[in-house]
């Protein structure tokens, strides 16, 4: 039955006629023996559903068919308004007890699919349903609307009553009904309906009939005799009111029990909570009416304009201030939306624990109560039918005609006079000219002292219309019309009376009518004229409730109803604006609930607005957090984090992660908290203060976490700690002889290595079995290290934060294996990240080398990374055993507390061989961190001596290359490949003292013989001193040093960086390694010197003679040049100066010196050598030297 109700019906039912119930003690007892606390509760299920169709007539007499009409029964003494704060605290408990079953993970628009949309909002968020039900059902009489004023009163006595008439008079005094005391706005003229409750087992039928007849005679037709059973069915054996007869037979029939079950269980829960709340409030503040006890609970305090300020006015609760103020100060400060509180976690935790003691959650209370209590225990099928019949009879024969009569009456007497032009004019004139009489008249505004628990602070009187005032009657008329669902008529009346309220400045009344106008517009079964009009009505209503009346509770209820109607109209876009309006600071829980609903409505718009959803979910989460609804906060933050997952909106992302961390921490989920915090740590965009806070809280939580779970933080690794940042691809391993800072241009080096290897093989330096070994070695590209040789791992760590961090106990994580083969298996970074700290024994004679079985590792005790610092740390390994050592990662401890193992996995080069490779991004394996440990090997160490930083173009400089073998074996077959072969010339060690420019003073001609063929000049052998007694291969023995001359010529102008790649072999063959290489870089700048132009022309004198003119320009600005020698190299030609007098020193001086920025010019004669020779190979060159000596 409930399922088929539309939201519109649901709403109309919540605003259905209210029937007050006054029952005598003996009548209540009859119900109690059926385990139902009161007659009102007993009637509730029957009022909820009136069987069949009800057709009240509207003001014109046209019937309106209503299928699901209902009335609300409420005990006479409970007609007043409940304490709003108490209601909110009950809602709080309910929301807390609801846990999300599962939720849809929305990451992008594509996730808003049918499965999501088909799940109704109510189903996915049952806590909101609780909230809505609470807000709509827990209401009471207020001055500005009459929905909660009783339409009728049901006066109930039992047939066992000895004095029926006296009891009736006692129960209800029609002249001064108890509920109108202090409430002049409530109409006492209501329908009275008398019920005689009769249990045949308790009183005789005749007695009942007698009383009934007497009642009809004196009280009129609105009487009813209701028979119910209140005793066990075998009446002879059962005792009165006994619960402890254990008999299956005595159990209530499930169908009958179900009538009351849920409702009663719930109302019991609510009741007891409200009660306990009131008790708590009394205890804390000593003043139940103001209930400042929960002002420390964030729902009541805050910066909003419409909440009670801490300077409570003296009239109502002056003595409660002393309690309220110190508590409320803690929450008033958090006014900024989504502010990350800078209060530290420790203090927050304490504060929260105190608060949470107040909220024991509702744990299955409803169910346990329902199972134990046998509601309607002795009720029979007939009894239930009789009750239904009575309710229907009451509604159709008594209540509805009563309402119809009233509608007719008020419409004629009051409303028609005000409608239309004349009515309005009359109203205006009445207002204008009747002001003198108005003050005395009862038919206008009155002020009465404010009472009740919901009076805002500082207000001690309220403005009301007494029930007999035409404005009040108009409102009542409209409400009645609304109750019988004549929305159109109700709308016109509301609209008329609204004007009066506006001119009278009766804001609460005005807000109420605005609200009802909006509701009527949406309830009418016709298309909306304008959406904005409706929204305007509600906006005004909410604004006035909040601003003028300071009644956020009313505003909340308005918003709930508006939201329900919008949902029914599928106006999803209007929903968020309406809901967000009610997210002020006064109640975080309500705001959170509304924001969450708004968020989900964004997903239901025609084009799902995922990002809006995310934002509102975050705000909801924030509010849940402030309302201490931790689980809901966590859930909302999780939902939001899915959308911000991709790291691009980093500040937003880390805000969510940080909040998640805090919420999980508060919920005791320390492990999750740690990982959320770890995500946040490395965020570089935050401010330094924020980062410091992150680190501090992370440390605090991590310490707690490790204490709790018994983990040693210095041993176990925290896998996803992102501090500091280590770039895996930049990690490199090098031998101790390597030049530092020689890590760029890896590709170029690699290709040089390849070429050198090919040359070496081609030239026969590497042969036989060594050949394949060398090729394999080249292919693997591993670092080869001999036992005992220190190898250095370079790791670049950078601190992304703006605060300094400290790293302790940095040591490599390595793995040794016997095999010399490269490590081929796939490594799993996630699994490896859990590796625990390694401990070795300190090596003797060293302060930072720790010895393990197969190797020694260097451990750095402490480094501090300054803000934004990037630093290269070098960690040494000394292998002690042949095999392979894989550098798996690095262990370190952050800030002396958090140990972490960072696995280092490098990608090899991008593969591009097969079509599959080309289509996708595939990387090869990388072996550079897999160190191959071999038996002792020679180890080349190099030093260049006398290398100038700058040389002149064309200048030749002799440098000395110092070759040092640091290894334990002899070094042989040293080969060199250079990147600039035309600059480099290597001589024999014996040629150390050779002059750069041969010749000196002797001018005689020389002859050279050269091989005239092509070869690769970039690869040369470096001659090594011959070993005495050995073969002709040069060897540098272990520990020895040899010097080799090396000439550098400035071949081209510019800055050059020469790359020297040396390869060498051991004098003994090794199974694992063919050769070793070493890289060396040298930077030289070549400066410009001379510019030379030359030309020739045939001699006029003889054949076979040419004139050569040489023009030399000095490009230097400061230095002068002196020509000292001119050589001509040719097989057939020789040269003689023409314009220079070789005898005259002055002439030579003048012609051969070139001052800065000057040019000299000289002619030479080229003549053919006398003997004509055959051109042969190899070519013989004649060198002609002209030596200009100018001393």
């Amino acid at each position: 039955m409930e399922g088929v109700l539309t939201p519109r019906d649901e709403l109309a039912r919540s605003l259905s006629p209210l029937v007050a119930v006054a029952a005598s003690q003996d009548a209540e007892e009859l119900c109690q023996s059926n385990h139902i606390p009161s007659f009102a509760d007993f009637m509730k299920p029957f009022g909820d559903h009136i069987e069949g169709r009800v057709s009240p007539r509207d003001w014109q007499g046209i019937p309106i068919a209503i299928d699901n009409f209902n009335v609300r029964f409420r005990p006479l003494e409970k007609l007043g308004e409940p304490n709003h704060l108490a209601v909110m605290s009950v809602v709080d408990d309910y929301v807390r007890s609801r846990h999300p079953q599962h939720y849809h993970e929305i990451k992008s628009q594509a996730d808003v699919n049918d499965t999501y949309l088909d799940t109704s909002l109510d189903k996915s968020m049952p806590w909101y349903v609780d909230f809505r039900r609470m807000m709509l059902s827990l209401r009471g009489m207020t001055e500005h609307e009459t929905f909660d004023h009783p339409v009728a009163i049901m006066i109930v006595i039992s047939s066992t009553n000895p004095d029926p008439m006296g009891t009736i008079n006692q129960l209800y005094n029609p002249n001064i009904p108890s509920f109108t005391v202090d409430r002049p706005y409530v109409d006492p003229n209501i329908l009275r309906y008398y019920v005689l409750l009769h249990d045949p087992h308790r009183a005789s039928e005749t007695q009942a009939q007698e009383t009934y007849q007497k009642m009809r005679k004196t009280l009129g037709l609105h009487c009813h005799l209701l028979r119910i059973n209140s005793k066990a069915r075998p009446p002879e054996t059962a005792h009165l009111l006994d619960d402890d007869v254990p008999s299956a037979e005595l159990d209530a029939e499930p169908a009958i029990r179900a009538l009351w079950q849920q409702q009663l269980a719930e109302s019991y829960t609510i009741e007891s909570r409200m009660q306990s709340y009131a008790v708590g409030a009394t205890r804390t503040s000593g003043n139940p009416t103001t209930a400042s006890g929960i002002s420390n609970h964030s729902s009541s305090s805050g910066g909003g304009g419409h909440t009670r300020s801490s300077s409570v006015s003296s009239t109502t609760s002056s003595h409660s201030t002393s309690v309220a103020t110190p508590l409320s100060t803690t929450t008033t400060s958090t006014t900024a939306p989504l502010a990350l509180g800078n209060t530290s976690l420790e203090s927050e935790q304490k504060q929260q624990e105190e608060l949470q003691q107040k909220h024991e959650p509702i744990v299955d209370e409803t169910e346990s109560a329902a199972i134990t209590t046998q509601y309607g225990r002795y009720m029979t099928e007939e009894d239930v039918t009789a009750c239904r019949g009575m309710t229907r009879e009451f509604v159709i024969q008594s209540m509805i005609p009563f309402m119809e009569r009233n509608i007719q009456h008020w419409n004629e007497q009051v409303a028609s006079a005000r409608r239309g032009l004349t009515g309005r004019l009359f109203g205006a004139s009445r207002r204008l000219f009747g002001s003198t009489t108005r003050t005395q008249s009862t038919h206008s505004l009155q002020t009465i002292p404010a009472t009740g628990p919901n009076v805002p602070a500082g207000v001690n009187q309220v403005t009301i219309y007494p029930y007999s005032a035409p404005e009040a009657q108009m409102r009542k008329l409209a409400d009645y019309a609304f109750m019988i669902r004549d929305f159109k008529f109700a709308h016109t009346i509301y609209d008329t009376v609204r004007r009066d309220y506006a001119t009278d400045k009766a804001y609460k009344y005005h807000a109420g009518t605005q609200e009802m106008i909006g509701i009527c517009l949406l309830m009418m079964n016709q298309p909306l004229r304008s959406k904005t009009d409706v929204d305007r009505n509600f906006e005004l209503a909410v604004q006035q409730y909040l601003g003028r009346c300071r009644s956020p509770f009313q505003a909340t209820r308005t918003t709930i109803m508006y939201y329900e109607l919008l949902k029914a109209h599928r106006m999803w876009k209007e929903v968020p604006t309406a809901l967000v309006r009610m997210t002020g600071e006064d109640s975080d829980l309500r705001s959170a609930l509304f924001l969450e609903q708004a968020a989900h409505c964004f997903l239901r718009t025609p084009k799902p607005m995922v990002r809006k959803y995310a934002f509102h979910v975050v705000m909801a989460a924030h509010r849940y957090g402030k309302a201490l609804q931790r689980e809901h906060a966590l859930r909302c933050y999780q939902l939001a984090s899915l959308i911000f997952e991709d790291h691009t909106w980093s500040i937003a992302q880390s805000h969510i992660q940080f909040a998640l961390g805090r919420q999980s921490f508060h919920l005791g989920q320390l492990e999750e908290a740690v990982s959320y915090f770890a995500n946040v740590l490395a965020d570089s965009k935050q401010t330094p203060q924020q980062q410091a806070a992150h680190v501090r809280e992370f440390m605090f939580i991590y310490r707690q976490y490790t204490n709790m779970s018994g983990i040693d933080p210095l041993e176990e690794s925290l896998p996803n700690l992102g501090l500091p940042v280590i770039n895996d691809q930049q990690v490199s391993v090098s031998l101790s002889n390597a030049q530092i800072n020689n890590t760029d241009n890896q590709e170029e080096w690699a290709s040089m290595e390849r070429e050198l290897l090919e040359q070496n093989i081609a030239k026969g330096f590497i042969f036989g079995s060594k050949k394949t070994l060398a090729l394999q070695q080249q292919h693997d590209n591993r670092v080869v290290c001999a036992i005992g040789e220190p190898t250095v791992v370079h790791i670049e760590v950078s601190n992304p934060l703006q605060i300094a961090i400290q790293l302790n106990n940095i040591i490599l994580g390595c793995e040794y294996r016997e095999s010399m083969k490269p490590f081929k298996e796939k490594r799993d970074a996630e699994a490896e990240a859990y590796d625990t700290m390694v401990h070795g024994t300190l090596t003797e004679g060293s302060d930072d080398m720790y010895s393990f079985d197969q190797y020694e590792l260097q451990q750095l005790n402490e480094i501090t990374l300054d803000p934004k610092e990037k630093r290269l740390i070098n960690l040494a390994i000394i292998p002690r055993k042949e095999g392979s050592i894989l550098v798996k990662g690095v262990h370190y401890t952050l800030n002396g507390l958090v140990h972490r193992f960072h696995p280092i996995i490098k990608k090899g080069k991008r593969l591009n061989d097969t079509p599959e490779h080309k289509r996708s991004v595939v990387y090869g394996l990388d072996h550079t961190l897999d160190i191959l440990v071999t038996s002792p090997m020679p180890l080349l160490d190099l030093q260049f001596h006398n290398v100038p930083e700058t040389i002149l173009s064309g200048e030749v400089v002799q440098t000395v290359l110092e070759i040092n073998n640091k290894g334990n074996k002899g070094l042989t077959s040293l080969r060199l490949k250079s990147s600039h072969p035309s600059f480099i010339c290597i001589g024999n060690p014996e040629e150390m003292d050779k002059q750069i420019y041969a010749g000196g003073n002797d001018t005689k001609q020389e002859q050279f013989t050269l091989d005239n063929k092509l070869y690769d000049p970039s690869v040369v052998s470096v001659p090594l001193p011959k070993k005495e007694g050995g073969n002709d291969i040069g060897v540098v023995n272990s520990g020895q040093t040899t010097l080799v001359p090396l000439w550098i010529r400035g071949d081209r102008i510019g800055k050059h960086s020469f790359k020297f790649l040396f390869s060498y072999q051991s004098e003994e063959d090794d199974a694992a390694i063919a050769h070793r290489t070493m890289r060396y870089t040298l930077n030289v700048q070549v400066l410009p010197s001379l510019k030379i132009n030359a030309f020739t022309r045939p001699s006029a004198a003889t054949i076979n003679e040419y004139i050569l003119g040489i023009e030399i320009e000095n490009l230097q600005t400061v230095a002068g040049f002196q020509l000292t020698q001119l050589n001509a190299a040719s097989p057939t030609w020789s040269i003689v100066p023409l314009s220079i007098q070789m005898e005259s020193k002055q002439d030579i001086e003048a012609k051969t010196s070139v001052p800065p920025r000057q040019t000299t010019f000289a002619y030479y004669k080229i003549s053919k050598l006398l003997e004509e020779k055959e051109l042969t190979k190899p070519i013989e060159l004649n060198i002609t030297k002209l030596v200009f000596v100018s001393h």
């Binding site: 990002r611 934002f615 909106w649 937003a652």
Partner: protein
């Protein structure tokens, strides 16, 4: 609190440039720590406004979409470029003309970044010159 938050959002929804713009006349009045508290909020607001921009952009020919969204007292103005890159400005005072001029000038600067052959589309703009120019434009119009 009168500061502007300006973000360029790439076509793939990632912020490619973000900056806080403080009008020089008021810089002294603004409390620094308070601004920092709002950093993430700015991102949230602008990120959420993208949904509205995507709706509005198809309804107009203009690149400047005026004020598309608001949160409490803050407005979000948007400008959509030809390749669906969005300029988002969070501001608390309505002044359509100056914002329009601001967007147009920033667009010009942005186009210059785009013309750089080494700049990848939708990649974060780290060019300090761009940053300076945007701030210059902001100083002129905001």
């Amino acid at each position: 609190m009168s500061i502007y938050y300006f973000a360029i959002v790439g076509a793939t929804d990632n912020p490619i440039y973000e900056t806080d713009i403080i009008p020089s006349s008021r810089s002294s009045l603004i409390d620094n720590s308070r601004r920092d508290d709002h950093k993430h909020l700015n991102q949230f607001i602008v990120h959420a406004a993208l949904d509205v921009v995507e709706e509005v952009q198809w309804g107009t020919q203009a690149m400047y979409l005026k004020s598309v969204d608001r949160f409490n007292e803050q407005y979000v103005s948007a400008f959509v470029t030809a390749n669906n890159v969005k300029f988002m400005l969070l501001h608390d005072q309505k002044s359509e003309d100056s914002i329009k001029n601001f967007f147009n000038d920033v667009y010009e600067v942005y186009i210059k970044v785009l013309m750089n052959p080494f700049y990848e589309k939708n990649a974060p703009i780290t060019n300090p010159q761009f940053d300076n120019r945007v701030k210059l434009v902001a100083r002129r119009f905001l």
